[in-house]
Amino acid sequence: MFYQVDVKSDAEVQVVESGLCWLTGVWYVTLACPCFFPVLSSSRFHLIPRLSNIVPESCLLITVGLLVGGLIRLAGEKVPPVLNSHLFFLCLLPPIILDAGYFLPIRPFMENLGTILMFAVVGTVWNSFFIGGLLYAVCQITPAPSSLHQLELLPCLLFGSIISAEIHINELLHILVFGESLLNDAVTVVLYHLFEEYSGVGTVTVLDGVLGVISFLVVSLGGVLVGAIYGILAAFTSRFTSHIRVIEPLFVFVYSYMAYLSAEMFHLSGIMALIACGAVMRPYVEANISHKSHTTIKYFLKMWSSVSETLIFIFLGVATVDGDHSWNWTFVTVTVILCLVARVIGVVGLTYVINKFRIVKLTTKDQFIIAYGGLRGAIAFSLGFLLDRDVFPKRDLFLTAIITVIFFTVFVQGMTIKPLVELLAVKKKQEAKRSINEEIHTQFLDHLLTGIEDICGHYGHHHWKDKLNRFNKKYIKKCLIAGERSKEPQLIAFYHKMEMKQAIELVESGGGVKLPSAMPSTVSMQNIQPKKPPPAKPVERALPQLPKGREEEIRKILRSNLQRTRQRLRSYNRHTLVADPYEDGFGDLLIKKQKMIELEKKIKEMNNYLTVPAAPPDSPTMCRARLASGRDTDFKPAQQKENKICQDPQSYSVKPSSGDVPTIQVDLASPQSPDSVNLLDELKRADQQKQDEDQGLMMRPPSREGRANKQGEVESSKEQQKLMRCLSDPGPSADEEEEDEPFLP
């Protein structure tokens, strides 16, 4: 289109040129804005931290856009009409929606689906007709002429919203507002197209109305279906990607985008398709892909959606400055007021109806938050912008009004909602991570409620959910999830995830830094385990000397494993995708556990020599694992009633522990120095061919950090613990020299 050489007339040449300019312009604004925004935001936010608390991000973005637009205008250039429909619908919108859909919390969403649908569908329709009708009436009174159809477009556009959850409210409200705004977009777009066609036609009959409803249903449900199909395809594909981990994230994005495009091609709702695709594929894809791919997907999605949102708001600002406005006080103010009124009435009315069907009712406070917090309008603006000037002579009027409302909602409501939430003492979202107890009991509760429903004899909510779960487990998971993971029950999957998270946290936190989730606690596994009958020599708790033979055996085992580790280290190079020890291991984890158990038996024989009562806090055994170089030793052999293997004054620098001391103080080494290695893990890895380079798998973390002993190997039978404490191995060191140091004298 831009390279037609047979352009003859001036006019056509101009078209070509302006086309090129346009393209350049788009790129210019697109790339410039996000580039200097982070600078702005970071400098501003850091310099004036309070600002970010008071002023939400969207306000700042719009301001920046205004500035940019103003600058361009001053420079005398024509502001490129950056926001055209292609750009918006093909590039800017999908990332935002995919981000929302992929990370949609399915459970609360499904539980509140009825409510959400009511608000989204009925609410939007109500808003459109109410505001449309009233505006029409108002306009009849005042001199400005207008037509019914055009007006009806306005309000339905106004309540689309882009999700940016800046307020942290409790889960129920959050999912309601979030879900509503998601579906709202879809409803809005559908209604928009519908109304557009009606305006073209001129008159609307009842038949048209009915057809409209049917087409609405077809469009939305069709979109969901398309999305679901693509989601399943993506999940199926991810089953076979174990050898091409690097491009796993690509599948997620490509399939989602294809779902969107396919739906749009058939004039179905692309937004619903995208949401359905993301939500459907997620559980299966996450079970199949590596941890790194998962992280990649997460961060890419967040990044793209942030960028898109930023751009939209900036364009909003730019277009405001540039756009042809026709300002009509009456129209605009009435619109703003009507929007608010319609919203409130809609929410209150709908809640009244909904509460009849809900068990957990929505209170007045909830209603207020829903009404107040659910307004934002970037999609609205974009759609308004796309109105064709010819069909709607009043386009500029609309645009101005839309912009005003958007500015109002973004600035005024955006800024006031946070203090209002505080004021109303709305229950905040629980920030704490899910604990294993909560997970156990959630599952327990599910089964319990299903059981009670069965006893009562009716097929309620839980019954069907349970049926769906079983169907899922039996057939679908087998198809879509690779290998061992398909049989893994949810509780175990959760548990592994938790272990892994803690393991990573520990490694990342390096030497002795407190974990953020730390809770000071001195509790360890041995506090829980019922006391075992005392070993053969109860009186004398001193450990007898380990016979030389045993020592030798232990030494051999350790050395051989260390060697293997070292070999693996040397063969690492920058181009190999370093296999994560935490990834791909879950299914195999269980097989490894088998081996662990065998190992346990072997170690049990050695155990007689390793009776370890609770070691005094700063025993070097406890501090054994810490191999920070350059720290002072304060070795206290006298206190030791432990095995003598641990006496090794030269090799280890042990930091004396400070005041409040946990039972098992096993600090991780600092990053530069070798991490401690769980002996048993080492042995476990003996068969594994992959190893991370800065390896040190979890030792017992400092109990100070609360969740002691739960990651890495949780097979913490007492024997293993003791063994590990005493024989904890300095692990492969980044520093080559230390490697050859003998562990045992």
Partner: protein, 220 residues
């Protein structure tokens, strides 16, 4: 005829006051009770075991046992029944009523405690007031019982970890020689604080025959 009807109504009235259900709901539940018991006065464990839908439930045994547990009758007795009558059946069911808009905050607290107590009783099988490690392990094992051998091995580890978490949350500074006896009810409450039991642990007591939306109309 009239006299018999008033008698049943009075009985229902009593039950309604005791358990908090509405007359409508009690009537429906009575119908169900009679179906389960085969028109007898009492239900035994076998009657409940016969329910086909329960077969797939991993914690079936615990659920059935809960009906026969005396502790769930709000009468401070311990032990278990061999058979239960309709009143006991209703008492157990009353633990699953949802809160209404009119429920005050104290009532919510009380409701939550009651529901947590029910759960606690389900775990504490020897009625000694604490959930020991063994008992907790049993719970997790049962939960994972439908998952084959994988479940069994992991169950122990998970139960241990969970127990550790309870201990470290509630008794953070234990000496090395102290032994954490078991989860007491207070600790149990503490650890499940975040789950908002009163909003989660409920079912809709619909009309048994026709699934219409009668729920939420409870007069309590």
């Amino acid at each position: 005829m009239g006299a018999a009807q008033t008698r049943t109504e009075n009985k229902y009235q009593d039950l309604a006051e005791k358990t908090g259900f509405s007359q409508e709901q009690i009537k429906n539940l009575h119908k169900r009770f009679q179906y389960l018991s085969g028109d007898e006065e009492t239900i035994s464990r076998d009657d409940l075991r016969k329910i086909p839908a329960l077969a797939n439930n991993p914690i079936r045994k615990q659920i059935i046992e809960a009906f026969f547990d005396k502790r769930n009758q709000h009468q401070d007795e311990v032990g278990s029944f061999q058979e239960i009558g309709f009143e006991q059946f209703l008492m157990v069911m009353s633990h699953f009523r949802p809160p209404t808009l009119k429920t005050t905050d104290e009532e919510r607290e009380a409701m939550r405690r009651e529901k947590l107590r029910f759960l606690f009783n389900m775990h504490d099988t020897d009625s000694d007031g604490t959930i020991t490690l063994e008992e907790y392990r049993k719970v997790v094992e049962e939960l994972l019982s439908k998952s084959g051998s994988i479940g069994q091995e992991a169950a122990k580890a998970i139960a241990d970890a969970a127990m550790l978490e309870v201990a470290s949350t509630n008794v953070p500074h234990m000496g090395p020689d102290d032994f954490y006896e078991g989860i007491t009810f207070e600790h149990f409450e503490q650890i499940l604080k975040g789950l908002e039991m009163e909003s989660r642990m409920h079912i809709r007591f619909l009309d048994v025959d026709a699934p219409t939306m009668h729920c939420g109309k409870s007069k309590s």
